[in-house]
């Protein structure tokens, strides 16, 4: 049996030792937080003074994740139905089609994306008014 040693193939991986001098790629979360990009598709927001309750968002949602919920208060005089969208985050896929079809541009996706809850009912999310 003939033995042969690939000298360059054996020595070249040792270059990895230089990485010990480099800074780590990871960040010390949660002390350091990564900045989310502008335009990130996170949680929904809905500017209620602009929302006209047209239900275009509900119509385009391919996951049936949006329900129109009746409100007690009149936020916008043009919203004759007094209905505003509520998102089911158990179904939503954050495709952002709902925000694309919003005529007054009141429904948007925010950079916020962290949500922790122990209640399943919290998945029915009422977008923040902003």
């Amino acid at each position: 049996m003939k033995w042969s040693i690939d000298i360059s193939g054996t020595l070249s991986p040792l270059g990895i030792l230089a990485a010990m001098m480099q800074k780590p790629n990871t960040i010390a979360y949660p002390a350091v937080k990564k900045e989310t990009a502008v335009g990130y598709r996170g949680f929904h927001t809905n500017l209620l003074v602009d929302c006209i309750g047209c239900a275009n968002c509900q119509d385009v949602c391919m996951n049936d994740a949006i329900d129109m919920i009746k409100t007690d208060k009149e936020y916008n005089v043009k919203n004759s139905s007094q209905c505003i969208p509520r998102i089911d985050y158990g179904r939503c896929c954050w495709c952002s089609l709902c925000t694309d079809v919003c005529p007054p541009d009141s429904l948007k996706l925010d950079e916020e994306y962290l949500g922790v809850t122990q209640y399943a009912s919290d998945f029915l999310y009422m977008p923040k008014d902003k």
Binding site: I5, I16, T26, G39, L109
Partner: protein, 368 residues
């Protein structure tokens, strides 16, 4: 089977060396595989039928889920098929942006392969580096599309957002990082004696088999056959860009690795040209609302080159707002059944993950 001689084990679906939610049933004598049977069905969601039940615009958000590590070829195929059926012509800028997204996605997917392939032989540091480098591309995607993994960006009629200010400059910076990094990958992985000793002569495919069974991508190019949809049937603006189709000889795991590594160089080269040539223009043609957008009665077949090989869509419209039929033809089905089952016979148990990773199998794409 003779008692106490054969052993049957399942490799996957929870095994870290498996390329997703699928499993391979292995009949072994000692460490040598006598028979391999691929099992899928762990994540069947019926994408093709889900698409047919929704309007064209609604369906566009589903297709990216057909392949998790590389969603963009699906989006591009879907958009190009709809545009061809509906007679929509997109601007030159859109074409360049789409090429940029597709090449970035190819680069990110090759990083995933690098991580999987190196992890399959125990070189975990390479894998961690590759995933960290992939994150740089995901950061760019986050900025451009609003999503890191599922981009939902290439829309029928254009792209959903224009490039943010300074995006091309940041892209250039990432590409410069990659150019330096790829040399390090060569030293610690591609030229590594332990990888060579494990990969050379393992999982050999012949060019005749490739042609006969319809293998694509690196499997085909690893046998020395120069075949790439970007050259053979150019789409978008690939005919205006200068790039080569890398090939290698041998048809084994190492040849496929060399092809993938060379493709990363080519992707960077293409992206640099895109940065230089990016034209001004509209990013979206005016589209009707999703209830009014109707697909004419016609059918089409479009294909792109994904990071794992030819990726094709058949689409038929019937004059309604829904797609009558959509069929996805990716490289994974034929690679995971016809090819993998053949290659594993006679291989060692420790080579299963190595061979599987080299084929670029993506289970959700098998179970579309």
């Amino acid at each position: 089977m003779e008692t106490n001689k054969h052993i049957t084990i399942f490799h996957g679906p929870q095994h870290p060396g498996i390329t997703g939610n699928m499993s391979v049933e292995l009949d072994l004598i000692g460490e040598t595989i006598q028979k391999a049977t691929t099992h899928v069905g762990y994540l069947h969601r019926g994408f093709e039928k889900l698409v047919e039940r929704r309007t064209v615009i609604q369906a566009f958000t589903i297709v990216c889920r057909i392949c998790v590590p590389e969603p963009d070829p699906n989006e591009a195929n879907f958009a190009m098929a709809v545009e061809e059926l509906a007679g929509i012509e997109v601007s030159e800028r859109v074409k360049y942006i789409r090429v940029m997204v597709l090449e970035l996605s190819r680069l990110a997917s090759q990083c995933m392969w690098l991580a999987g392939q190196s992890g399959s032989i125990g070189l975990y540091a390479v894998g961690q580096w590759a995933i960290a480098d992939r994150d740089l591309i995901l950061d760019l995607f986050e900025e451009l599309t609003g999503g890191r993994v599922y981009h939902m960006y290439i829309y029928p009629g254009g792209v959903r957002r224009d490039l943010p200010d300074g995006f091309l400059r940041r892209l250039e910076k990432v590409l410069n990082h990659f150019k330096k990094r790829l040399k390090e990958y060569d030293n610690i992985f591609i030229n590594n004696a332990s990888f060579k000793s494990r990969a050379i002569g393992v999982g050999i495919v012949s060019p005749e088999e490739c042609i006969k069974n319809g293998y694509v991508g690196q499997v085909l190019r690893g046998c020395g056959i120069e075949a790439d949809v970007r050259k053979d049937a150019p789409y978008l603006v690939y005919d205006q860009l200068d790039f080569e189709v890398p090939t290698a000889q041998g048809g084994d795991v190492y040849a496929r690795a060399l092809v993938r590594r060379a493709e990363m160089d080519q992707s960077i080269h293409i992206l640099e040209q895109v940065i230089d040539k990016m034209p001004e223009g509209e990013i979206m043609v005016k589209m009707p609302t999703h209830r009014k957008f109707k697909l004419p009665k016609n059918d089409t077949w479009v294909k792109v080159e994904s990071s794992r090989g030819e990726f094709a869509y058949y689409m038929a419209g019937d004059g309604s707002e829904k797609i009558r039929r959509m069929q996805v033809r990716g490289p994974s089905l034929v690679h995971a059944f016809t090819l993998l089952e053949d290659l594993l016979v006679g291989a060692e148990l420790s080579d299963v993950a190595l061979i599987m990773n080299s084929l670029g199998i993506c289970p959700p794409e098998i179970e579309r």
